[in-house]
Amino acid sequence: MTPAVEIREVSKQFGPVRAVDGVNLLVPQGGVMGIVGESGCGKSTLARIVLGLLQPDAGEVLVEGRRLASLDRRTRARLIQPVFQDPYSSLNPRHRVRDIVALPLRAQGERDVEAKVADMLARVGLDAAMGARLPGQLSGGQRQRVAIARALVLEPRIVVCDEPTSALDVSVQAQILNLLAELRRELGLTLVFISHNLAVVEHIATEVAVMYLGRIVEHAEGEALFQRPAHPYTKALLASVLTPDPGLGIPDSGLGESYPDPANIPPGCRFHPRCPVAIDKCRTTSPDGITAQGRLVECLLAAD
């Protein structure tokens, strides 16, 4: 089966910053690809490239087997849609909810949009009366439901969610995650789900890609990655997550105090200055493309 999204050797540079640096990734049909990493790792840049909002400097993105760069905006909008982090800034404050949700349809030249909009609002759990409201009259969770309704109204194949629950309270976050999971099952959607919250990704993702300084350093099936992380960076990230278990104290990630600088990527393995198990070879040899245990693990030690 053609993958829903295929990312081939994609790179993007902003001045001295190599935000995305030779990324390859296949997102299978109907899957949920979680992309995790610290701020500045390039995950949001990658999302914008997959959405066609940014042109990569090198490489290409295929959506349902078609080159993204060759598609016009309308076709692209029917295939792939975004949901962004901040439901406060991503909705036009002067437009009523029903017009916000109708806009993608109208942009496609559709006239009879009322029935579709009403159906979509109901699907995301907003009652019809909400259609007449302005974004300022809604709570954060309701706004994110509007953003999801707008993303789904064209019945796209793929939805790219960039930190969709980061601005929400935990009880509301749970509502939105449950809604996304339910819509994905009902509509057969493929999701690309970007988050810095590993617990959220573990809950929703079928596959996970871990990004570090512009590269995917580990990619595996969700359960395998969380149960048996192979890359030292993945291990450190998982070790840093604070689960609500009293008495365990605060973990030491073992990463030390040297923070990564995307404008100054170290030679050899880009993770070696922070890596607790680095050896001499890591300073000079790049671990690009290494696979082990049937997964991508860009670590020289994993190969042995």
């Binding site: 701020s39 509301v172 509502q175 278990d245």
Partner: protein, 318 residues
């Protein structure tokens, strides 16, 4: 609690037609970390601002008791309160980029705090600043003193904020979401630092957060806030082992826990949203979202005791 550094009783804060804080009781003892946990709009940050005397103009504050050490904060003038803040009460806020002045070096901001409260020579203040930067785990403190906030990473800026809050050796540290804007790896190192400093210096730490993972790992005592009230308070281990208020239980069920995930099962979630509480509001503020609500809930939510030190506001027996 006789040995408490901070004691708050019946704190109330109102803004126009909204009752933001409705009768909050809190105490923080020397060497204790008390976490105030709740979602946005629960009144947790307003509670902290009210204690520090930093409420915006137009806010109404009232309390039965507001005691810090031997000082009655209710009777204190703005100037006297200003002398306490930054000196015997340290503060750390969520966003270090907006709390630090971008136009001044780290060193000048740290020394300014110290000399305003403690006087002394610039030389002594610089030494103290370098010492504190070292204590908060910043390498090459001498060089960092000459840098501007924008030259530091988010984690380093938050360390500088903590150093600044500790410059004068406070007895109480109030930290409002100090790690929320940071990556998980940096968050863990900042929290370790806070916990270590707190134990070493015997600080009373009032930590405000929405993150139950943070609470579980650092708190001695937890107070859960909802719609302006503390709806449950308990020692940390008891709260996580026996959450009793339906809101606390709902909150814990809605957090995805790594390693205990069942992907095909929905997360527990709390339907609806936090109500706005106006004057004259009666009964339990959670009743519209509560799966156990009964008619009596519209009249009152009584304070019940589950165990010594573990209390909650609810009609349901323990």
């Amino acid at each position: 609690m006789p040995d408490s550094v901070l004691e708050v009783g019946g704190l109330r804060v109102g803004f126009r037609a909204v009752e933001a804080v409705r009768g909050v009781d809190l105490a923080v003892a020397r060497g204790e970390t008390h976490c105030l946990v709740g979602e946005s709009g629960s009144g947790k940050s307003v509670t902290a601002l009210a204690v520090m005397g930093l409420l915006p103009r137009g806010a109404r504050r009232g309390a039965d008791r507001l005691r810090f050490g031997e000082a009655d904060l209710l009777g204190l003038s703005d100037r006297a309160m200003g002398r306490l803040r930054g000196d015997r009460i340290g503060m750390v806020f969520q966003e270090p980029m907006t709390s630090l002045n971008p136009a001044y070096t780290v060193g000048s901001q740290l020394t300014e705090v110290y000399r305003r409260h403690r006087g002394g020579s610039q030389r002594a203040a610089v030494d103290r600043a370098a010492e504190l930067l070292g204590r908060v785990g910043i390498s090459a403190p001498g060089r960092r003193l000459g840098q501007f906030p924008h030259q530091l990473s988010g984690g380093l800026r938050q360390r500088v904020m903590i150093a600044m809050a500790l410059m004068c050796g406070p007895e109480l540290l109030i930290a409002d979401e100090p790690t929320t804007a940071l990556d998980v790896t940096v968050q863990a190192s900042i929290l370790r630092l806070l916990a270590n400093l707190q134990a070493e210096m015997g600080l009373a730490l009032l930590l405000i957060t929405h993150d139950l993972g943070v609470v579980a790992r650092i708190a001695h005592r937890v107070s859960v806030m909802y719609a302006g009230q503390v709806v449950e308070t308990a020692p940390s281990a008891a709260l996580f082992a026996h959450p009793t208020h339906p809101y606390t239980r709902g909150l814990l069920a809605s957090v995805p826990v790594p390693g205990k995930v069942r992907r095909d099962e929905p997360l527990g979630s709390i339907p609806g949203t936090v109500p706005r509480i106006g004057p004259g509001f009666q009964g339990c503020s959670f009743r519209d979202r509560c799966p156990f609500a009964m008619p009596e809930c519209a009249i009152e939510a009584p304070l019940r005791q589950r165990a010594p030190g573990h209390a909650y506001l609810c009609q349901l027996p323990p």
